[in-house]
């Protein structure tokens, strides 16, 4: 019985990964090789190799952004994915012209309902809550729905006494939802605080790019802070800083390696070592860092 359910859960996740459209259908992979240029080194890399990476350049190690469902499927134990609040979306609090249409087209092109996916699942047999932001959806910006999904996931982890892992990727607060987007920073940060006060383990993984209101709220509050190689993270974006100081920023500024050097990260972890790193941290925290509720 349990196997049938877990098979169904896995099929659902596989389907969602397919709908994200990043992993090409098997039929297309069987055809003639399609090349995509690496944004890092500019070399052409066959699509098959991108998909195998996943989305890490085999030549220079550049980490391309990947979809929320794809990342979950790479990390969670097969058949353990249970999505939380998969259909939650937000309205148009500012009556911002054209916002609904833009949301609809983002939903079509990414297969996502919003810029974040949250799920219960298992990692190396340890039950946990995992949240993944997706920068392809409105730059992963945080509006009311993203803030609500993150908050609900944190509260679920607290009540179910599970550790929490969040992969961040965001351009910051979502402009189109105005001040209510800003308020999501308060909402998510206080939920994290409550979870941590209850003894819960919270691991953040910054992926490229994590900026603005997400950096200045839940992304910076991890008990353990990790990042993918080359991921840019900061409060102000590089363009704004350059305008302020009137000069070019140094090479590597605000990148993961720079943040590690400046004391804001525990480690920079390549994508192919992420799963084992997370497993080892979870094991080191006894019962996986379960909240006391």
């Amino acid at each position: 019985m349990e196997t049938r359910f877990s098979q169904r859960r896995q099929r659902l996740l596989d389907l969602k990964v397919r709908r994200e459209g990043q992993i090409p259908a098997p039929a297309r992979l069987a055809g003639p090789a399609v090349f995509e240029q690496c944004p890092g080194c500019g070399e052409p890399v066959p699509q098959t190799q991108w998909a195998r990476g996943p989305y890490v350049c085999p030549r220079c190690g550049y980490h391309r952004p990947i979809g929320g469902y794809l990342r979950l499927s790479q990390l969670l134990d097969p058949g353990t994915f249970r999505e939380l609040d998969g259909t939650l979306t937000s309205g148009n609090p500012l009556d911002f012209p054209g916002y609904e249409q833009k949301l609809a087209s983002a939903r079509r092109s990414t297969g996502l309902a919003e810029g974040v996916v949250s799920a219960k699942g298992k990692l190396c047999g340890i039950p946990l809550v995992m949240v993944v932001m997706d920068s392809r959806f409105f730059m992963g910006s945080m509006g009311v729905a993203v803030g609500e999904k993150v908050t609900r996931a944190v509260e679920t982890a607290r009540k179910a006494k599970l550790p929490l892992v969040i992969f961040t990727a965001s351009g910051g607060a979502r402009m189109q939802e105005g001040i209510l987007s800003l308020m999501q920073m308060a909402k998510t940060a206080q939920a994290i605080q409550k979870f941590q006060d209850a003894g819960g383990l919270y691991i953040t993984v910054m992926t490229h790019p994590t900026t603005g209101g997400v950096t200045a709220s839940f992304a910076s509050l991890g008990d353990i802070a990790l990042a993918e190689p080359g991921a840019l993270s900061g409060f102000a974006g590089p363009r704004v800083i350059e305008q302020t100081i009137g000069e070019k920023l140094p090479e590597g500024f605000q990148r993961a390696e720079y943040l590690l050097e400046h004391g804001f990260l525990d480690a920079v972890v390549p994508r192919d070592r992420m799963k084992e790193t997370l497993c080892s941290i979870l094991r080191l925290h006894g019962k996986g860092g379960a909240a006391r509720g």
Binding site: S90, R152, E177, F235
Partner: protein, 273 residues
Amino acid sequence: MADHSPARRVALARDPGRPGTAQFLEALFTDFFEQRGDRLCADDPAILGGVALFHGRPVTVLGHRKGKNLEENLACHFGMPTPEGYRKAQRIMKAAEKFRRPIITFVDTAGAYPGLEAEARGQGEAIARCLALMGGLTVPIITLVIGEGGSGGALALGMGNKVLMLENAVYSVLSPEGFASILWKDSSRAQEACDVMKLTAADLQELGVADQVIPEPEEGAHTDPQAVFAAVDEALSAALRQMDRVGDPAQHRYKKYRGMGDGWLAVPGKENK
């Protein structure tokens, strides 16, 4: 209340003659002792904080400080705090909790300082810690938005149990210039941005962010500061009295911010609450 356009209110909120945190501090409080420094490496003058008496009662006062002249403004980055400022604020708020003092915060900043050094020392982390800290504080926080409430740099002092706004104060996710630049790639369309952003005190009350709007003289707070001080004094006294009746300020605050934007969720049903 006056019938100003949002853009006019933005201009009034930024008027250099408008009373700032230091002026409110002097007018409304006595025996102020300034607490300086983050106890790590520096003292950021863009954050002004300390202990004072409000009608004889010890309170912690904290606010953004804009300079009165160019020299002061260069020292405090025109009221835009660095991470050291936010870390000083955290220290002062923790002391308030230890000594069971209510916290009164004055919000008046264009935003956190977006400089190279500020980033290198963790501007995002410093703001995030302010929010997490305020989320759990067991003493009441009353926030007064007196001028510009710009972005995360404003919110870092703004998580009040009660949020009171002066009539011509504004509060937004980003400055209208930044908003126009991000959404329309044209910062000169700031005027237009003011109209769509819903950043006036009345808008914020409607959106559930501000609890009360304090009226100002027709042409702005700077035309009759004494009248504004009196109105703020009265509103603040009332807000403190209300909070004295709240048994658990931390829970009260959690509930307030937990519900931010609730009315705009497209799929209702809060099964995880």
